[in-house]
Structure formats: structure tokens, C-alpha cells
């Protein structure tokens, strides 16, 4: 039933699937706002610290725990470091972790899902049952175990984090791609390609993968927030990278109490983290609605 629904937009002459989707996305104000907010946040995190020469590590014992002021927009932390700089630089890490892990997720998940869906039968069964099995493991296990392997030597190096987070997030991607490929391989153009003598590899790479690209993009946008959240869990447990939103939030949580509250230490990173995740989720949902009209009501 999915296949018949996805034929409709491509069959129309005049507007391509992409143009059609873009038109629908532009009409979706929430998704558009999410996209704009995302661009702003990314620019702020990566451009502002360089432009203004901010330093997240300089300590100043005379300016400890200052609330937000004109001089320090976000206040200062317990060591007198400028919190705006810390939040922005922390954002770089979080966004990079999200992007890099997602790239790994896309590569592994798409290949795995495509092979499972294309061959079907027993291969599909065993590959997907393996995915089910990994799904059944509380994924924090895998992440913590992998992080452990690098823990003492590479403290603060984000590469193991990418690796560990990518390791657990590819499962959903593989499932989705597999489901799509399962219906795509029955379509006429695959048959046509096979008749002209194309091999399995060629059919997968040239004919099937371009058709799942849309849904891959959607789930990639939804994977980034999932990875960022997971990274913040790791930071909270003390296993994350050196300076990220997750770590700032975790430190913020530890200093909050009703008597002497340095609320800004929790507030700013939480707000930026939530804003980014909101934007990504809204954008992902908007993309899904735009590219797959069937889910739109």
C-alpha cells in the first residue's frame, strides 16, 4: 500500500517530487521556523566565538558565579569563566557529535537495510533478527562498554563518542530502509534493470538507494537530536566528552537548590539544547510530511 501511494507525486508531470516537497515544506510554518532557528544556532555556535575571540577556559577568581549581566550575557560559572562562551563552544561539540554520529548511522544503516530488504527471505530474517536483538539490549550498555575502552587514554576525545553513539543508533535507520527497499524491489523499474542485465550491486546502488534517499534524510534529521540527547546522558554519568551542552546541563543540575541557586548554569544550556532539539524534531517532522504526503492529514 505504500508503493501505490508513493507513485502518485512522481507520476504527475510538471512538478518534480523535490519541488513539490519544497512547496509543502514552505507552507509548514513550524518546520520552517525550526529550520531558521537551527541555522541561527549553528551560526552562533560556530561563528560568534571566533568572531568575538571568546575563550571558554579563562578563569577569573574575582568574578565567580555572577548572574547574567551586560558584561556577561549568560553570567559566569563557579570558576569565573564566561558562560556565554562556554555554552557556545559546548554547542559546537554537541552539534558535531550529533552530525558525525548521524553520518555513521546513515552509512551503516542504509547499507545494512538495503541488503536485508533487497535479498529478503532468510537473509532478511536473520539480519533483522540481529537488529531486533540489539534493539532489545539496553543501548546504554553498548555505549558505556565502548566508551570504557577509550576512557583512560582518550579522555575528552569525541571520536569514541561518535563511534559509540553511531553504534546504537543505526538500528532504526536499518529497519526503515529495509522496509522501503522491501517494497521498492518489487517495482517495475527494478525488474527492467534486471532484464537489461544489471547485477545486484548495481541495482541496489543505482536504482534502489536513490529512491530511499528522502526517507533517509528525514530520519537523519531525527537521529541528530537522539544522538545529542544520548551524549548528554553520557556526560551526566561522567563518561562524555570534555565540553558539551550535556555536560554543562549536568553540572547545572548539580548546583541547583532552592536556597542558593545559580539558575543560569542550568537554564542557558538547557534552553539551547531544547531549542536545537525542538528545531530538529520539527524540521524532521515537517520533512516527513512534505516528502511523504500519505502521513499528512
Amino acid at each position: 500500500m505504500t508503493s501505490s501511494a508513493t507513485v502518485v507525486p512522481t507520476a504527475e508531470k510538471g512538478t518534480s517530487l523535490g519541488a513539490d516537497a519544497w512547496r509543502r515544506l514552505k507552507r509548514n510554518r513550524v518546520a520552517l521556523a525550526g529550520g531558521i532557528a537551527l541555522v541561527l544556532i549553528v551560526t552562533a555556535c560556530f561563528v560568534l566565538p571566533v568572531l568575538l575571540g571568546m575563550d571558554p577556559e579563562t578563569t577569573d577568581p574575582t568574578r565567580k558565579n555572577l548572574p547574567p549581566s551586560l558584561q556577561h550575557f549568560f553570567g559566569t560559572d563557579t570558576l569565573g569563566r564566561d558562560y556565554l562562551a562556554r555554552v557556545l563552544v559546548g554547542g559546537q561539540t554537541s552539534l558535531l557529535v550529533g552530525l558525525a554520529a548521524t553520518a555513521a548511522v546513515v552509512i551503516v544503516g542504509v547499507l545494512y537495510g538495503a541488503v536485508a530488504g533487497y535479498y529478503g527471505g532468510r537473509v532478511d530474517e536473520i539480519l533483522m533478527r540481529f537488529v531486533d536483538f540489539l534493539y532489545g539490549i539496553p543501548y546504554m550498555f553498548l555505549v558505556i562498554l565502548v566508551m570504557l575502552m577509550f576512557s583512560d587514554t582518550e579522555r575528552g576525545n569525541p571520536i569514541p563518542v561518535f563511534f559509540a553513539l553511531g553504534l546504537v543508533q543505526w538500528l532504526a535507520m536499518a529497519r526503515i530502509v529495509r522496509g522501503q527497499v522491501l517494497t521498492l524491489r518489487e517495482r517495475e523499474f527494478v525488474l527492467a534493470a534486471r532484464v537489461t542485465g544489471a547485477g545486484d550491486m548495481r541495482i541496489i546502488v543505482r536504482h534502489i538507494l536513490p529512491n530511499v534517499l528522502g526517507i533517509v534524510v528525514i530520519y537523519a534529521t531525527l537521529t541528530v537530536p537522539a544522538v545529542i540527547i544520548l551524549e548528554s546522558f553520557l556526560s551526566f554519568l561522567g563518561l562524555g566528552v570534555k565540553l558539551s551542552w550535556g555536560q554543562l546541563v549536568a553540572e547545572g543540575v548539580s548546583v541547583v537548590n532552592p536556597i542558593d541557586s545559580y539558575w543560569w548554569l542550568l537554564f542557558w544550556p538547557s534552553v539551547l539544547l531544547a531549542l536545537t532539539l525542538f528545531s530538529l524534531n520539527f524540521l524532521g517532522d515537517g520533512l516527513r510530511d512534505a516528502l511523504d504526503p500519505r502521513t499528512r492529514r
Binding site: G136, P138, F141, S151, L237, V253, L273, R297
Partner: protein, 399 residues
């Protein structure tokens, strides 16, 4: 489709070979051999015939029962029970479930192996943090706790102890206690926390989702989905800290943290439940919208049934189906989240033992928690599967 039964098997073989080669080059050939044989065996189960699956599955289940029964009942009674279990499962358990068992149990064993391998690769070892001991003392300790220098040997000792004695081994870092001693008091805490969270997630999620799905694009829809978005977009330790500040510190209604009875469970369970409630709400919304457009709902309306009867008798099932298939991943996720929530609220559950064990390199504690968690989730998944087949007759006769 007239595909050969072995179509694509070459890819599986290549995959296993590549895996073996990579592990052989990176870690060691003995580990590679175990992994290659293990994954090869597990992959091979897909090609087992139904009869083989029934026999294999029953035998494996009987083996698990033996591990539990033998130390408690003695070998004679245990043998009796095990024979009974094997016969009953062989006769009555559906082949679909048997197939899963044939895959899951060997996978659990592989998981134990892979976990031990990863732990051995991590820098440090359980004896490294002690006052510098002479090599002889370290060797004696390693022998005492059954932790040789080689992961494969460790795995063999561990599995022997598990299968023959039904024991998870001595805790290395907590002297004089076994892993069971440590984990058994923590298990009910974690289970009640997880179950309560799961119930809360389903309850909140279903109510919000169905409410939204019955009137798409209404105020009720937007408010529910906005709430769901908050649940998905905030890390749950932030939500937890917020709840703690509001309900415990400001209002003083509930205890702040720690453990001491059911009021202590409410906030952590709520924290744990919210992200999953949000996902469930979205799934239930989609399911409700889908089912309300079905012909049988129109028929029910045409018959003159009241709207509430239609919802309860016809639409509810459609809304619940996608949620049921999400319950498995949700359970795994809730257990994962419990690591964080247990730390935040200072609850003496299993998650804390895992994190502590991982940081202290206490191999047996890590493996013990891993085994218990994974068995719980696997069993739960199997149960969900059966429930799903019961709810949706279309998939009942598969395979």
C-alpha cells in the same frame, strides 16, 4: 517470488568471514574463532527447518530452566522438571516463538562473550587499582576470582560456573559477596521502577494520543503534540531536576531522592516515563487517525452506534497496535534511562551497579547486570510478540 532458498547466503558468509578477519587482526585469533563460529551458528539457525527449530528451541529452553532449577531443587528433581519443560514447549510453543528462542539464547551467550572481550580490551583491570601487589599475589587473586588474563579463558570459566552452578560468580570489588548478593536486592527496585514507568508511559501516552487523533488539527491535537514534543526534546535528567524542584523542594509533596517505599518511586518513574509517553502519544495519534478512516468505523457509524462505543469497541484496537509493537524498544529504553534516573534520584537499583561495575572494571558485576537486563528485555519482547499476534490476527499465521 521464486527465489532460491539460499539467495544472499553468500553475503552472510562474507559478513561472518570479514568479521572474523577484522577481529583476528585487531584482537586475537582465538577470540576471532569464537566470534566467527558463534555468529556463523546464529546465522545458520535461519536455515533450520521447522522440525529442527522445535527441537532446538525446546532443548535450549530446557537448558535455561536447568540453570535455575539444578542448584535449587537438586539434580534429580531438576531433571524431571527440565524433561517436562522440554516436552511441553516442544508440543505447544508456536514455531515462530521457537525460532526466536533459537536465535535469542545463542545471541545472549555471544553477548556475554563480546562483553567480556570489550572489558578485557578496556584499559585497566579489576586488580590494577589495589595497592601494588606482587605478580604472585595478583596471579593468586586472578585464580581465586576466576579472572585469567585471556578473555576466552575467562568466558569459559564464567559460562561453566553459570551453567553448572547457576551462579553469577563472586563480585571482585566487593569482597566476600557474590554478584547475586549484590543484584538480588536491587532487582525488585529496578523492576518496580521500570514497570511503573512503563504503565505511566502507556497511560499518559494513550490518553494524549487518542485525544489528539480523534480530532486531528484541533486545539486538543496541537496541545497534546506540543506536550509530546517537550517530552521528546528535553533530556530526562533535566525533566527530573525540574520535577524534583517543583514537587519536592518547593511544594514538599514528595520525597526528594533516595529509597524508602512507593512515594519515592513516583517522581523517578514519571521522569523515566515522559519521553516514552511522548513517543506513544505520537504513535497512538497516528493509529487512531488511520483506524477512524477505515470502512468498518463508517459501518459502525452507519449502524447508529454512539461515538463512544465506536471508540472503545473499534478504534481503540487500531490505536493500540502500533503502541504494542513499540513496547519492546520502550522497555529497553526505559531500562537504559533508568541508569540516569537512578543516579539522579539516588535509587539503589541495578543501573547503579552496572555503572559502578563498569568504572571499577568489576567484570562479574557488569556481566551479571548485562545478563539480567537482557534476559528481562528479551522475555518481555517475546511476550509483546505473542500479545501482538493475539491482537492482530493478520500476522498470526506467519511462517
Amino acid at each position: 517470488m521464486n527465489e532460491s532458498r539460499f539467495a544472499g547466503a553468500q553475503w552472510m558468509a562474507i559478513g561472518v568471514a570479514v568479521l572474523t578477519l577484522v577481529i583476528g587482526l585487531a584482537i586475537g585469533w582465538r577470540e576471532a574463532a569464537v566470534i566467527g563460529l558463534g555468529t556463523g551458528f546464529i546465522a545458520g539457525t535461519a536455515w533450520w527447518s521447522a522440525a529442527m527449530v522445535r527441537v532446538g528451541g525446546s532443548l535450549m529452553l530446557a537448558g535455561v530452566v536447568w540453570i535455575f532449577a539444578a542448584p535449587n531443587l537438586g539434580p534429580g528433581a531438576a531433571a524431571l522438571v527440565v524433561t517436562g519443560v522440554a516436552a511441553l514447549t516442544w508440543k505447544f510453543l508456536p514455531t515462530r516463538v521457537q525460532r526466536r528462542v533459537c536465535f535469542m539464547l545463542p545471541s545472549l551467550v555471544m553477548l556475554i562473550f563480546v562483553t567480556s572481550m570489550l572489558m578485557y580490551m578496556a584499559p585497566g583491570n579489576p586488580f590494577a587499582q589495589e595497592k601494588v601487589a606482587s605478580p604472585q599475589v595478583e596471579e593468586a587473586l586472578r585464580k581465586l576470582y576466576g579472572v585469567p588474563r585471556d578473555p576466552t579463558e575467562f568466558f569459559i570459566i564464567y559460562m561453566k560456573r553459570l551453567v553448572l552452578e547457576g551462579s553469577l560468580g563472586p563480585a571482585i570489588k566487593v569482597q566476600g559477596r557474590t554478584v547475586q548478593d549484590l543484584l538480588m536486592p536491587a532487582l525488585p527496585v529496578s523492576i518496580s521502577l521500570g514497570l511503573l514507568a512503563l504503565i505511566l508511559a502507556c497511560g499518559i501516552g494513550l490518553v494524549l494520543g487518542i485525544r489528539a487523533g480523534l480530532k486531528p488539527n484541533s486545539a486538543a491535537d496541537y496541545s497534546s503534540m506540543a506536550l509530546a514534543m517537550v517530552g521528546i526534546s528535553l533530556p530526562n535528567f533535566v525533566i527530573g531536576a525540574g520535577l524534583m524542584i517543583v514537587f519536592s523542594l518547593s511544594l514538599g509533596w514528595l520525597p526528594v531522592a533516595g529509597w524508602g517505599g512507593y512515594p519515592h518511586l513516583i517522581l523517578p518513574a514519571l521522569t523515566l516515563a515522559l519521553p516514552y509517553a511522548a513517543y506513544i502519544a505520537r504513535l497512538a495519534r497516528g493509529g487512531t487517525i488511520e483506524v477512524m478512516q477505515q470502512d468498518f468505523v463508517r459501518t459502525a457509524r452507519a449502524k447508529g452506534l454512539s461515538e463512544s462505543t465506536i471508540i472503545v469497541k473499534h478504534a481503540l484496537k487500531g490505536a493500540i497496535l502500533p503502541v504494542v509493537s513499540f513496547l519492546g524498544p520502550a522497555a529497553a529504553g526505559i531500562l537504559t534511562g533508568s541508569f540516569v534516573v537512578e543516579t539522579l534520584f539516588g535509587i539503589p537499583g541495578m543501573g547503579q551497579w552496572f555503572v559502578k561495575g563498569a568504572i571499577n572494571r568489576d567484570y562479574s558485576v557488569v556481566l551479571g547486570t548485562a545478563i539480567i537486563y537482557c534476559t528481562l528485555v528479551t522475555a518481555f519482547n517475546l511476550f509483546v510478540d505473542l500479545a501482538y499476534a493475539w491482537l492482530d490476527p493478520r500476522i498470526r499465521e506467519e511462517r
